[in-house]
Subunit: 375 residues, 2 copies
């Protein structure tokens, strides 16, 4: 029997509960398809941070880099300032493992209530490929009034004033600023990935940017997009401004096959995508480094107010688990899990509150595991 | 009779057609409420640029600054590279006149088809106050491999590599970068405006940011928000990440009263807001400088493929016209125009294709003018 060792970071809030169901279903799939998983638990998250002051150590990251896939619950806790855990654990891992693809299927499963009128599963079935290591996520920024950043204040006011002969006061002012950057390599590799995916799908890649305003960074993105597109003459392409994209996701989701997007816009439109596919409880994501260590998670947060209540929907996490074992090479088992999720939803007997049911988190895990086992 | 002189920039594509209807309705309101408008036309837009090479000159801007309100159709043309007209005319005007408020009502009118299930006009009725002069709209950015920006490449790679001892090649690399900035004054004035609006409304202000990742710029935003909020202890407040906000706009629009947002996120969420309120054909916006020159426009673009066809919906532009004359002090006339739009929609006899009808742009203008006149 094939043996896998898979590290798991249950994380904060509802993380441990949903991860327990994900493991249960993967274990069931192992029983059915002939593999066995040795789960290696990692304690990282809010409690660990509050107890030890450690977010995630370089030693832990080095150790984790020996694996092909990590299973992640959710990170985030109200006791800690915004960004500390997210940047210190989640983004740290994405960057450290150079997981340059954030793969987010937007698929309305049969039987799921869609908040958009007149849309069926045939209309909502595409994939967002989000760049995952660059853009405005690089964490460079600051305040003016001190050292180097004073220069930026000057640049700002000089440009702003010089353009039309204004004379806005700069003296007592303070600013906050942030820098985003994308590299040639970083942009090309994610766009290449998107085109490869489209070649195996409906041969259509839609790019997202805001090149009409953030022209420096996204003008560069468009050039790289065009240079990759030139190598795929059979693939249809289009450019979309991110603002308009939020409309198309609601109005014409059937237009899309593969959507490729810079990091920050990808963050925004995939939450909307999750809503369109029936809610955050159903939306999985994969942080992928095709040659290295990938990491799979539900795209929702840690929902602290539901912690320990056996209440929330584990399907996003179970689906992320399917993506995880597909990455390990267990395609058949992964398909069986997705198909079991679909059966559970179609039967509509064991569902959590967000889907109109009254079952608990663990009941849904049990039910999907049962279906995987063919019982 | 009160006399107003109002500059109008019909602009590109469908701009002239929709502006003609807006003028028609304002003229009718003048007849009814006792004022007369002398319209002063400006030629700026794609044709003017292609003929003369001029986007908008400092002379034109100086001249326009003598007025309280400008009426704008739409700017944008496929013959010209993305950003040239938008930055050279639309953003130039917003910045030159320091129109620091972009006011966008999100209101589902009675009788309008909403693409979201189970939402009624009572659920979708709030206002987005978008900052309009700073953030990532300041136009500062560039490419690496030359002069100063080379330093940014170093900063990027140094941080990225140093954090976990990586050693990513930097030599042959090229990057595109963009800088966003918000100032203390710029942030406070828009947040003040939002709170003043909420004091006259349902006393609830929701802030939008991404302080967990773009912590420098939006941590600063949050501080300013808190300092303004402290002066309004009776107003309820909350912070929302922009990604989550796209979900709430679909799932719980009824939560909101006044939403205040940095420029770029405001751009994104108001397009989604327009969709939620029934489509771009119905969404108006005002670029406001309360002490200076304001500018009112539909938030949709120039839709070149419909140009000259008397086909598109003029309601967004007519509604923007109501905001314009309200700004001039004609509150009663403005209310009459909005109410006439509501009557036109409720009667559902004279509607453009996007609302399921077969009337032309000018028929809708005629009908709303008729209702304003009480005929
Ligand atoms: C928690 C946060 C840092 C993260 C992000 O912004 O990427 C989340 O919103 C996501 O989409 O995975
Ligand atoms: C045309 C474009 C520059 C503009 C913007 O980004 O502000 C538009 O999308 C808007 O929302 O008014």
């Amino acid at each position: 029997m094939t043996q896998y060792k898979i590290p798991v970071i249950p994380g904060d809030g509802i993380g441990p509960e949903i991860i327990a169901e994900g493991r249960k279903v993967i274990d069931a799939a192992g029983e059915k398809f002939g593999f066995d998983v040795d789960w290696v638990e990692y304690p990282h998250g809010a409690d660990h941070y509050l107890e030890t002051g450690e977010l995630i150590s370089e030693d832990s990251l080095k150790e984790l880099s020996g694996y092909k896939g990590i299973y992640l619950g959710s990170i985030g806790d109200d006791r800690i300032a915004p960004g500390v855990l997210e940047k210190g654990i989640l983004l740290a891992a994405r960057f450290y493992f150079d997981q340059y693809i954030n793969l987010r299927p937007i698929k309305l499963l049969d039987g799921v209530w869609c908040p958009i009128k007149d849309k069926t599963p045939a209309d909502i079935d595409f994939t967002v490929v989000r760049e995952n290591t660059e853009d405005f996520y690089i964490g460079i920024g600051g305040r003016a009034k001190s050292g180097a950043s004073k220069d930026l204040l000057e640049v700002h006011r000089t440009l702003y004033n010089a353009k039309f002969g204004l004379d806005i006061e700069t003296d007592s002012e303070e600013i906050g600023y942030q820098i985003g950057m994308i590299s040639k390599e970083g942009t090309q590799r994610v766009i290449n990935y998107a085109f490869d995916l489209a070649e195996k799908s409906k041969k259509h890649v839609s790019s997202v940017d805001k090149a009409n305003v953030l022209s420096d960074i996204y003008g560069f993105w468009r050039e790289e997009f065009n240079s990759v597109a030139a190598k795929h003459p059979d693939v249809k392409t289009d450019f979309n401004y991110v603002d308009a994209m939020t409309m198309w996701f609601v109005k014409n989701p059937e237009w899309f096959d593969v959507v490729v997007t810079p990091n920050m816009f990808g963050d925004i439109i995939t939450d909307l995508g999750a809503m369109v596919q029936g809610g955050l409880g159903l939306a999985p994501g994969g942080n992928i480094n095709p040659e290295g260590t990938s990491m799979f998670e539900p795209i929702h947060g840690s929902a602290p107010k539901y912690k320990g209540q056996n209440k929330v929907n584990p399907i996003a996490t179970i689906w992320a688990g399917a993506m995880l074992i597909e990455q390990m090479g267990e395609k058949e088992a992964a398909d069986a899990i997705v198909s079991a999720i679909e059966t559970n939803i179609r039967e509509a007997k064991v569902q959590t509150y967000d889907m109109g049911g009254s079952a608990g988190t663990s009941d849904v895990g049990d039910d999907i595991a049962r279906i995987v086992l063919g019982k």
